[in-house]
């Protein structure tokens, strides 16, 4: 499976129908009714996390937790290997006649290395999956989608009834309707 989520880019897409909302309840109802009508909602852009929206849109639960687990295991094995190599294999040191093989005094370094690798490994895959990188061009449909507006974007398909889709958006409180095609937005 590709790691990068291809849904996030707006480039090379069919015409998009865009509904602008001011209220999170309206967005929830609009998204639900679009999904109920069998229309695929491409994405909903919100200035803050609106809980439940991902489930309505049918987005799969993220597998980041599993990624975190494997990154943690990697960190732990790296730490054990490092300590074993330096402390047992390469140059055994006798300090206060403490045993040179595994002792509880290895645990702090093992723990810290596990946490470090989990956090950064998970961060790395999070950025990759979400197409986030320094210098990526931001594709916002509305400058206020990071402020107080919420945007529903529906990608038009062959044979789709655009008019009824727009009406559905309007019915649930869209304050503005737009079309977005090839980087140009038209207010409807």
């Amino acid at each position: 499976m590709a790691i990068l989520d291809k849904n996030l880019s707006l480039r090379n897409r069919n015409k998009m129908l865009v509904g602008v909302y001011e209220d999170e309840d309206n967005v929830m109802h609009a998204t639900q009714s679009l999904v109920d009508a069998g229309i695929r909602v491409h994405d909903v852009y919100t200035p803050y996390p609106v809980h439940g929206l991902d489930r309505i849109m049918g987005i799969r639960r993220s597998r980041l937790a599993r990624v975190a687990f494997f990154c943690g295991l990697t960190g732990l094995s790296l730490a054990v290997t490092m300590i074993w190599y330096m402390y047992v294999h390469d140059w055994p040191m006798n300090i206060g006649n403490k045993p040179e093989r595994f002792t509880p005094s290895w645990i702090p370094v093992m723990f810290e290395a596990t946490v470090l690798c989990t956090a950064f490994g998970m961060g790395f895959f999070f950025f990759w999956r979400n197409r986030m990188l320094h210098g990526v061009k931001n594709e916002v449909l509305d400058l206020r989608q990071t402020d107080d507006r919420m945007i529903i974007a529906v990608e038009t398909q062959e044979g789709m009834d655009e008019k009824s889709t727009l009406e559905l958006m309007k019915k649930h409180g869209a304050v503005e309707l737009r079309e977005f095609h090839n980087g140009v937005q038209t207010i409807l």
Partner: protein, 449 residues
């Protein structure tokens, strides 16, 4: 339709809308700096200068310009290290532990507390690094292949655990803070008008659009990072305490140290958060976001952790007597009634007795009083570390090596100078980044059940 809870008070007052939140919180970033900011920043830079001077003098002349001696080898220096590390812990605690416990009041204060963590850890790191004397060989503390035979670092030593713990803590906190900042940086990116600002905020927003797909993963990564940071923060101060507890110095060699240090760290950290936020909410007009309710909640935590620390002091004393070890008994009697009695009783009165005023609601809800108390807590916690370090070291097993110790001007300068580092960073943060997490605060504007 807004469904308002009838039993919980609103976390954000003043009937704010999402647009109001952006406008209020982004105001310092989008406008010219205020006079208060300029005055504060200038003062901080002056203190930063004191740090630079003291450090230059230390490096130029040598570590002998500090008053540490062969008995008290850890003086102001390690006191300051533990003091700053402790302060840092409240940031992680507020953002991670309160996130795990779903405490929504954290949302207005977590950003500045996390920033405080990062700046405090920077200040803390200065002390052990420069205590090495030959700082240019500081990299010897890292497990690197080297040219000195095949000598590696000692994994049995708590000082090495500290190297791993502090560096992991700093970098994971920075990642946690940065991931939390991205949505807000994107908000600022879409608000600024100048070309330079657009470029920089654009660069650090990493193309954030607020897509629901990203938000879902963002919430998950925040949760897992919180789950990781919680044991991390406990481990860091536990390891700091083992710097003392694994030695055989009377007064240090006690098993109570890890929980006692962690409670102390939370206590002093919340003290510092209260100091900063009582001022920031007034100066930056954030009274609707950081409400009296927030201050009250922090005061309750200060009171509980202060009492925990107090119980630890009393338990230590009891166990010293109960152990029957005369060295241990002497170390504690010497703390309370020896030549450093004033430090011990300052610690007791600031940390155990003073926070008990927070049983009274007036004390928990009056900002100027909370500010004074937060300073008292900070002073008390500095004295705690001073007492632990200096009273245990100045009289060791051989009475012929008993000495007295007081910090030299350079040591004092370095300590005051770290406040310069801390506040310079904090003022820059308050000017260029949103001090309150806008995205999270927008999600709690409605008081839903």
């Amino acid at each position: 339709m807004i469904h308002d809870s009838i039993i919980r008070e609103r976390l954000v007052t003043g009937d704010k809308t999402a647009a109001d939140v952006t406008r209020d919180i982004a105001r310092p970033i989008l406008n010219q700096p205020s006079t208060a900011w300029k005055v504060g920043f200038t003062l901080s830079v002056i203190f930063l200068g004191i740090f630079a001077l003291s450090l230059f003098y230390t490096l130029w002349t040598g570590i002998g310009v500090w008053n540490i001696n062969k008995s008290v080898m850890w003086g102001w220096d390690i006191t300051n290290f533990v003091f700053w590390v402790g302060i840092g812990h409240a940031g992680t605690l507020i953002s991670a532990v309160l996130l795990l416990f779903r405490q929504k009041w954290r949302m207005s204060i977590n950003r500045s507390a996390e920033a405080m963590t990062i700046f405090a850890v920077i200040c803390a790191a200065m002390f052990p690094v420069f205590h090495m004397g030959r700082v240019w060989v500081g990299y010897w503390a890292l497990p690197l292949p080297n040219g000195f035979g095949s000598l590696w670092v000692n994994f049995n030593s708590p000082l090495l655990w500290d190297v791993f713990a502090i560096s992991t803590y700093f970098s994971v906190s920075l990642l946690f803070w940065y991931i939390g900042l991205i949505p807000d940086i994107a908000t600022i990116r879409d608000k600024v008008t100048t070309k330079g600002a657009k470029f920089w905020y654009g660069l650090f927003s990493m193309g954030w659009t607020g897509s629901t797909r990203t938000w879902a993963r963002y919430e998950l990564i925040s949760l897992i990072l919180a789950g990781l940071s919680t044991p991390l923060v406990l481990s860091v101060h536990t390891i700091v305490s083992t710097d003392f507890a694994t030695s055989v110095i009377p007064g240090w060699h006690t098993t109570i140290f890890p929980p006692y240090f962690v409670a102390g760290a939370i206590f002093s950290g919340f003290g510092m958060v209260a100091t900063l936020l009582v001022v920031a909410r007034k100066v930056m007009n954030y009274e609707n976001y950081i409400t009296i309710g927030h201050l009250e909640a922090m005061c309750k935590i200060i009171m509980v952790t202060g009492s925990l620390v107090g119980i630890a002091y009393l338990t230590e004393f009891f166990i010293a007597w109960y152990s029957g070890v005369e060295y241990e008994q002497y170390a504690f009697l010497n703390r309370a009634f020896g030549p450093y009695w004033w430090a011990y009783w300052s610690m007791m009165s600031c940390n155990l007795i003073a926070p008990q005023v927070f049983w009274f609601k007036w004390c928990r809800t009056t900002p100027w009083f909370i500010f004074i108390m937060s300073i008292v807590v900070n002073v008390g916690m500095w004295f705690e570390r001073f007492v632990i370090i200096v009273t245990s070291l100045h009289r060791d097993y051989l009475p012929s090596s008993w000495v007295m110790y007081s910090g030299s001007l350079t040591e004092v300068g370095l300590f005051l100078g770290t406040f310069g580092i801390f506040f310079t960073c904090f003022f820059l943060f308050a000017k260029f980044l949103p001090v309150i997490n806008m995205a999270e605060v927008k999600s709690i504007l409605r008081n839903r059940e």
